[in-house]
């Protein structure tokens, strides 16, 4: 009874399959998106992840999890990978990988950190750095499903050039379908920057988010420190714990 992206009633066990890289997109100097072709993809829900397994010539294996950044409506599956210095897997996936490369993948995985357009109420997404990836899957799905419920993405990056999906986010916000995008830049701001210029804090979460009475669904993804502080603040502000979903990733490793 594994839940997966399809609504098939037939149980389906996760199997490793071979993913082929069919496209590469340089998102920022340190972040790259991989467009994958999968022979046997059952579909996914926004927020789910996949496991990737790389096997070296000596048989050494390394395995990592990556969020899916594409919408279920998209033909291909997109992963967005940030290069972590000294990492085992991310230097390959973010630098060395070429179109046509193949590696093992299984998924989709996870039924907890998931949002679909069928869920009611406003949507408040809080991202730090490449933690924006699964939230982007939600926003892409929201646009594809023509969902007009109010939604806000509060997105913290280090500097302007580190903003992942920047032009696409601008385009989504310009659709006039109830989506608001709020950027904050923690280390460096360009001249005339009108957005936030500090880490995500209580004042920002209170002013940019929705009041607890609106019962927004809240998804927080980013480094552990951001996830822990933002989720605690949302609880303190009076949001219900079962409406707050978090996903953290380590700032090092890879």
């Amino acid at each position: 009874m594994i839940r997966n992206g399809s609504d098939s009633a037939v149980p389906r066990r996760l199997q490793w399959q071979t993913a082929e890289v069919s496209g590469l997109i340089d998102e920022t100097p340190r972040v790259r998106s991989l467009v994958l072709t999968l022979p046997d993809w059952p579909g996914h829900k926004p927020g789910q992840h996949v496991d990737i397994r790389l096997t070296g010539e000596d048989g050494y294996r390394a395995q990592r999890s990556y969020s899916i950044a594409s919408a279920p409506e998209s033909e291909n599956v997109m992963l967005t990978v940030e290069r972590i210095e000294d990492g085992e897997v991310s230097p390959y996936l973010s630098i060395d990988v070429r179109k046509g490369d193949k590696f093992e993948l299984r998924g989709p995985i996870g039924g907890h950190f998931v949002w679909t357009s069928a869920l009611q109420g406003p949507l408040f997404l809080i991202a730090g750095g490449s933690g924006v990836a699964p939230l982007m899957a939600m926003l892409r799905h929201r646009a594809a499903a023509k969902n007009k419920a109010p939604a806000t993405l509060l997105y913290s990056s280090r500097a302007f050039e580190d903003i992942i999906y920047r032009t696409e986010l601008e385009r989504l916000a310009a659709m006039g379908d109830g989506l608001k995008i709020v950027h904050t830049l923690t280390r460096q701001q360009p001249a005339g920057w009108a957005g936030g210029a500090r880490r995500i804090d209580r004042a920002m979460l209170e002013s940019e988010g929705f009041p607890p009475a609106a019962r927004p669904r809240i998804f927080i993804c980013g480094p552990t420190r951001l996830v822990e502080s933002a989720s605690q603040i949302m609880l303190d502000l009076g949001h219900e714990a079962n409406l707050i979903k978090t996903e953290r990733f380590g700032p090092t490793g890879g």
Partner: protein, 93 residues
């Protein structure tokens, strides 16, 4: 989600792939009662420590090891003595 090290904990949902090798349902969406502090919460909200070879799921409240899963070349070791009981809902259709 991004790559993780052995020392930086992730949320329980990160262990979904590994747990799916053993269970016929999505354990990460089940709720679990911690043996240490009796708190009930979703497995997805536990802290996961681990890598390719296995995973340790600790209670987010009291740090008790609830699930210990080790993947060896010959099979799996599964130790769930820190998890008092699970509640599993059938998948929504």
């Amino acid at each position: 989600m991004q790559p993780h090290t052995n020392d930086a904990p992730l949320d329980g949902n990160a262990a979904g792939g590994l747990l799916s090798e053993l269970f016929a349902f999505d354990v990460t969406t089940a709720s679990v009662i911690c043996e240490g502090c009796e708190t009930q919460g979703e497995v997805a909200q536990a802290r996961v420590y681990g890598g390719t070879m296995g995973a340790l799921l600790r209670c987010a409240h009291c740090d008790t090891v609830m699930i210990r899963l080790v993947h060896t070349p010959h099979g799996f070791w599964l130790d769930m003595r820190g998890a008092r009981s699970f509640f599993v809902k059938p998948p929504a259709e």
